[in-house]
């Protein structure tokens, strides 16, 4: 953990300090340990330097409530640093002072070191003026940050290009915006204070800190942004986590550290936002307010960096600690889930029944229903470890390969809409054979991204037929393999994340040397690395050194295949983006929700519901050589996966922390295959006889059912392409459409077997339930449904055939929620 500064080390004799932040130890002077003052150590550099302090109540290592307003503050040496009633400490002269906060019987202290108190700290355009313009909204989208500016004055959106903004402010409009002789007469100050008319209204007052920063910068001669300006190295938020209750307010303080060693309280210039407004909201000034139970991440964005504070607000239940202690733990997943549940006072549901488990496991892992005899065998097996054995067997089935080949084909966009049929097959076959061979995920990604040669011979090479230019490859690679979108940064720095336009074009330049030419056969293309080719950064108009996000750069003159360089970086065990993204996708497949939701929206401001769990799963996945099957087995064997979907009296509101299995509608292809499986009448896909829906290589196969139930068109890698919500169109289709009705009416399959076997009502109900719902009907169900069948027969008259009533029964089961949902 990085140390704050020399001052911090030097002061160790005065108070016992913890690390720079994080778990505080006994840093209260009187040792009572129930009050803390943040930040733990403060260095104020330069004239007028200030820092807001936050006083927190504390239980153990957890902050439990803000006490700043009710504390009294004192400085051990007001000649060095003063502190006011609000807790703002200000530099007076060089030296060291101890600031003590007292709330009732308890107190806490922090050390303050003052440096260069007589020298004004030089304000820079980049680090001070631009943040003022950002905070005041001047360079926001609706104002001068708009693509076309406002009233002839255009700034870059949220200040992503300080050099250009500097020129605009100092040179454009006949330099009227700045008056170096009389700074107060600068338009840059007259407009936002509404001293002259301003379409955007009053943005700040003449006595405000905003005004002060701009006036001081103008008075200093409007120094231009320079290469040697200190750059921000780290952003911190205090407190970084707190456990609060609804109605509580928690002010947050944000401190920025710069490369010249100084740190500043930048809270006033930060853009705050909450990821979960139902749990906590945050004001523009950084005061979080707890609204409900759960967890929220409050993000603070400053100079294109982001830091988050976690607000935990436990549910108002009284859960016996023993409930967590006695909950079964099958592997590391369960301990981490239970820790999170206990932090939030959420009770875990009991274990699923064997019938629930077998159906769920088959559907989630292989997209099929267990056959009735498999259900019977599993239910009658009384030996220990039968669930683990079932999982092992399931993972070796060909349907497991079908399912995961289909899933990765969604992700990798296999479709005859964008590839000739033979190339589409080649691409699909590469994916399917990779899954069948248990090819580790890193190897799959490496083969795909470095693919060369004939697309018919090397299916992976079709990736570069689908994604033809550096922009497309960059954005697709980020979404597919890292789980986030960097599209915003194509045109400007990402407004709420750390990715800059420079990051974007450095990454894009990794893909500027890929060429495609015609191959010998129809539909065949040859992908090969070109020797030259660059993509220019659109503003700088030069190519930048190729560099993966946050990775090392490759010299622009290097002659290696840039894709190779990228692939090595991507799949390196040290690159957490890569493993984390696929772990999250696989987790969602089984658990109904990503640890980060959505699976292609992994961002600092959208943190995981259980960060420790995501990290542990990611480490485990990497340690097991990126084997997807190992990950699947780990998840499926956890108690967490095997919990019932029935909520308890207190955990129904939780759809995020996995206190119970999240029931959800089945995917389109799985429903269709299941209907075919239960009715015993296969679907006939044009051009693909004998294949189940999950065996289709192509998303462009004509099927009204699949389209209506939300099959993704495979145009983009976005997870949201797949629609899993019920719709009226779907209801109409199952009521009146041909898919189910014709399978039921077919003179073969299950209905015919029931007719031929002269099955009575109870037998029919029994068989249909076992086939469709993987369970035996209850006595009550047997009774009411047999009676309903009798009534139906009676309505039809004395000689009415059995077929209609059997069809109707099967229809009712196949359109019911228990069948259409995995639970």
């Amino acid at each position: 953990m990085p140390r704050l500064s020399r001052a911090l080390l030097a002061s160790a004799a005065v108070v016992v300090l913890s690390g720079a932040f994080g778990a505080p130890k006994a840093d209260t002077r009187d040792g009572t340990g129930d009050l803390a003052i943040l930040p733990h150590a403060v260095v104020l550099r330069g004239q007028g330097s200030r820092q807001q302090l936050i006083v927190e109540a504390r239980a153990g290592t957890t902050y439990t409530g803000n006490r700043t307003a009710t504390s009294t503050f004192a400085s051990s040496n007001p000649n060095v640093a003063t502190v006011d009633a609000a807790g703002v400490v200000a530099a007076v002269s060089d030296g060291r002072a101890i600031i003590t906060a007292r709330a009732g019987e308890v107190s806490a202290s922090t050390v303050v070191e003052v440096e260069r108190a007589s020298a004004p700290y030089p304000l820079t355009f980049r680090n001070h003026v631009v943040p003022v313009l950002t905070r005041a909204g001047c360079n926001s989208g609706p104002c001068h940050g708009s693509l076309s500016g406002k009233n002839g004055f255009k700034l870059t959106l949220r200040g992503y290009d300080p050099d250009l903004d500097y020129l605009t402010l100092t040179r454009q409009a006949a330099a009227r915006r700045i008056n170096k002789v009389e700074p107060a007469r600068s338009l840059m100050l007259l407009k936002p204070t509404l001293a002259v008319s301003h379409g955007g209204g009053k943005r700040f007052a003449t006595r405000s800190p905003e005004y002060g920063v701009i006036a001081q910068w103008i008075a200093a001669g409007t120094p231009a942004p320079a290469d040697w300006d200190p750059s921000m190295t780290r952003l911190e938020v205090f407190p970084s986590a707190a456990r609060l209750k609804p109605g509580d307010e928690q002010p947050l303080v944000v401190r920025a550290h710069f490369s010249d060693g100084h740190a500043e309280d930048v809270t006033r210039w930060v853009k705050f936002s909450s990821n979960e407004g139902a749990v906590a909201t945050v004001s523009e000034d950084g005061v979080a307010k707890v609204q409900g139970a759960g967890e929220a991440a409050i993000s603070a964005w400053y100079l294109s960096q982001i830091v988050t504070a976690r607000i935990t607000s436990p549910f108002p239940h009284h859960i016996d600690a023993a409930a967590y202690a006695r909950a079964p733990r099958a592997n590391f997943i369960d301990g981490l889930v239970l820790t999170k549940l206990s932090e939030l006072n959420i009770e875990p549901s009991p274990l699923s029944s064997d019938t629930e488990f077998i159906r769920r496991a088959y559907l989630d892992a292989a997209g099929i229903l267990p056959a009735p005899e498999e259900v019977r065998a599993f239910l009658s097996d009384t030996s220990a470890g039968k669930r683990a054995r079932l999982i092992d067997a399931l993972l070796e089935r060909p349907e497991f390969v079908d399912y995961w080949a289909y899933k990765w084909s969604d992700l990798l966009l296999v479709s005859s809409r964008s590839l000739p049929s033979n190339a589409m097959w080649s691409y699909y076959n590469w994916i399917r054979s990779s899954v069948a061979a248990d090819k580790p995920w890193d190897q799959m990604a490496r083969e795909l991204l470095t693919a060369s040669g004939n697309t018919l011979a090397n299916g992976a090479a079709n990736y570069y037929v689908l994604h033809k230019n550096p922009i497309d490859v960059t954005e697709n690679v980020a979404m597919t393999f890292m789980g986030f979108s960097i599209t915003c940064a194509r045109c400007h720095n990402h407004p709420l994340e750390k990715w800059t336009q420079k990051d974007y074009y450095q990454m894009a330049n990794l893909f500027s040397r890929i060429a495609v030419k015609n191959g010998p056969d129809r539909g065949d293309l040859i992908v090969y690395p070109a020797r030259t080719g660059e993509i220019n950064h659109p503003r700088l108009n030069v190519p930048l050194a190729p560099r993966p996000l946050d990775g090392p750069s490759l010299p622009i003159e290097a002659e290696t295949d840039r894709r190779q360089f990228f692939a090595e970086w991507l799949v390196s065990p040290d690159n957490t983006f890569f493993a984390r993204a696929v772990v999250n996708r696989v987790w969602k497949n089984f658990m109904g929700r990503g640890l980060v939701e959505g699976v292609d929206d992994i961002r600092d401001a959208n943190p995981p519901s259980n960060p420790a769990l995501l990290s542990a799963l990611t480490r485990d996945f990497v340690a097991h050589r990126f084997e997807v099957k190992h990950l699947v087995r780990t998840i499926m064997n956890s108690t967490t996966y095997q919990l019932s979907s029935r909520p308890t009296a207190t955990n129904a509101a939780d759809l995020k922390y996995h206190s119970h299995y999240i029931a959800r509608r089945l995917p389109a292809e799985v429903i269709l295959d299941a209907i075919s499986q239960v009715t015993g009448v296969a679907e006939n896909f044009p051009g693909y006889p004998g294949r189940r829906a999950l065996q289709l290589p192509d998303a462009a196969v004509d099927s009204y059912f699949l389209t209506a139930f939300g099959r993704p068109p495979r145009v983009t890698a976005a997870d949201s392409e797949r629609q899993q919500e019920p719709s009226i169109t779907q209801a109409l289709h199952v009521i009146n459409g041909d898919t189910i009705n014709q399978k039921l009416a077919a003179p073969r399959g299950l209905i015919q077997i029931l007719i031929d076997g002269k099955s009575d009502n109870r037998t029919a109900v029994e068989r249909i339930y076992l086939a469709a719902l993987s369970r035996h009907p209850s006595d009550e169900e047997l009774r009411t449904l047999s009676r309903a069948m009798d009534d139906g027969l009676a309505r039809g008259g004395p000689d009415s055939p059995r077929r209609p009533v059997l069809e109707d029964l099967a229809w009712a089961v196949l359109t019911g929620r228990e069948f259409l949902f995995n639970h």
Partner: protein, 457 residues
């Protein structure tokens, strides 16, 4: 609870067992949140006297203001483009020569010539702004105007309150939501999507009618049986999507069983002359279908003129493939719109429906004033023109004005929330009516600080 033992038949075709629905203990029947409506009516936020419906024509792609409804005949050639201005039946209002028919109806619509938005010049962003009045931030999807209306007023009879024709907007390049569903209001209030092309020779709503081999009595029996099956596993009721599944089934049965609702989708009841008048193409037939629906109780119909901007001739005239050339306005798109729009206004007027039907025609942005090297025009969010007519809107007038090259509003800039406020006012909804937002906090239907365009009323 479901009267399975009801002894008689239960006819399906004539108004099917309304009471059985009540017996079934239904949840919101496609937005039948009567309580919302009653509560709002009591609070004076929904005007019960105003029962105005809306047809919204989304001109996907972004029509060029300079080639359609904001002509600059005196500007240099590279600005004014290839088309001439023609007079309309309202003195002083000129539009493009590509719209000879709508020129005869200028008294029925107002031209808003200073519409702008401040977001990125991406189709998807414009769709969000123009269909919801807001830009989506922080994963917070805002509801479409029609979905808000569904939520606040519920269905009128058996037809769904909000229908989207013919298909949703698909890929337009930005990979962002288009603002075409209920967003944070929940899927219950999503529009009913036709998902078929009404200009197809054998057009019908997919699966609206039972197949011949399924007599209505059996459809009924199945529904009863399905309830028995579902009721036995009531614990699944706690899943929101399972409840939605049920309400979808109920809505589907209502649609199937109501003669009037089914007839709303039946274009075969329209004569050839009418069809010719609207234009026998996807957009023309969608407009005709929209009129039928409004007549039969649908409150809001959204018609997407196009589904995408790629590899299809649309308003998106960049001038180079896979987009469209500027000439397509004269050769294809202009006539298509001219026919359908003028027919719709005339038809609604002749049937006495125009006064109670707000007709909107709008794109997601305008186009660059200067013709680009490919002879087309690119995206331009700073100024464009949209049309509003019917529903109590005073036609025959121009609101706002652009500068001499159609680049920026010169006068009375109109933002998407201003448009939203105007639409809600026309629909009889107070613009401060609260709807419950993503974080369970009530938000007004229109952001504070925006007002309806008073001159239009």
């Amino acid at each position: 609870m479901f009267r399975f033992d009801a002894e008689k038949s239960v006819h399906f075709c004539d108004g099917m067992r309304r009471r059985d629905f009540l017996h079934a203990g239904s949840l919101g029947l496609l937005g039948l949140t009567l309580s919302d409506f009653l509560a709002l009516k009591a609070a004076g936020q929904v005007d019960p006297a105003r029962d105005v419906n809306c047809i919204m024509l989304m001109l996907v792609g972004g029509p060029s203001q300079l080639d359609t409804w904001d002509m600059k005949p005196d500007a240099p050639a590279e600005i004014r483009g290839p088309y001439k201005a023609i007079p309309t039946n309202v003195a002083g209002i000129q539009i493009s020569e590509i719209f000879p028919r709508m020129a005869k109806h200028a008294d029925k619509y107002a031209l808003l010539r200073s519409v702008y938005h401040t977001g990125a010049g991406v189709h998807d962003v414009g769709h969000q702004y123009m269909q919801t009045g807001r830009f989506f931030q922080f994963g917070n999807e805002q509801p479409h105007f029609g979905c808000v209306l569904s939520k606040l007023k519920g269905p009128k009879g058996d037809a769904p309150p909000h229908v989207l024709l013919p298909r949703p907007i698909g890929n337009t390049g930005g990979n962002l939501p288009h603002g075409q569903n209920a967003g944070f209001l929940g899927k219950t209030f999503d529009p009913f999507v036709l998902n078929a092309d009404p200009s197809d020779a054998n057009f019908q709503v997919p699966d609206l009618v039972s197949p011949d081999y399924l007599p209505s009595m059996r459809v009924d029996g199945r529904s009863s049986m399905r309830h028995l099956v579902d009721n036995a596993v009531s614990h699944l009721e706690s899943i929101p999507d399972a409840r939605l599944l049920d309400s979808n089934f109920q809505s589907a049965y209502r649609l199937m069983s109501s003669e009037s609702a089914r007839s709303a989708f039946d274009l075969s009841k329209e004569d050839d002359k009418t069809k010719d008048r609207y234009g026998r193409n996807r957009f023309g037939m969608s407009c005709l279908l929209a009129r039928r629906m409004i007549e039969r109780g649908v409150r809001f119909v959204t018609v997407n003129m196009f589904e995408t901007v790629f590899n299809e001739i649309t308003w998106d005239i960049h001038g180079s493939a896979p987009f469209s050339p500027i000439e397509c306005y004269r050769d294809l798109i202009g006539p298509m719109f001219d026919h359908a729009y003028s027919a719709l206004l005339e038809d609604l007027h002749d049937r006495g429906l125009l006064q109670d039907t707000l007709v909107l025609a709008m794109g997601e942005f305008g186009r660059t004033p200067k013709v680009n090297p490919a002879g087309g025009r690119d995206h331009w969010t700073n100024c464009w023109t949209m049309l509003m007519g019917g529903g109590g809107i005073k036609g025959g007038q121009v609101i706002g004005a652009s500068d001499e090259i159609g680049a920026y509003p010169k006068d009375r800039p109109i933002s998407p929330p201003d448009i939203a406020a105007t639409i809600y006012k026309a629909l009889g909804i107070d613009i401060e009516t609260p709807i419950v937002g993503a974080s369970n906090r009530p938000v007004p239907v229109v952001d504070y600080g925006h007002h309806p365009i008073a001159e239009l009323f």
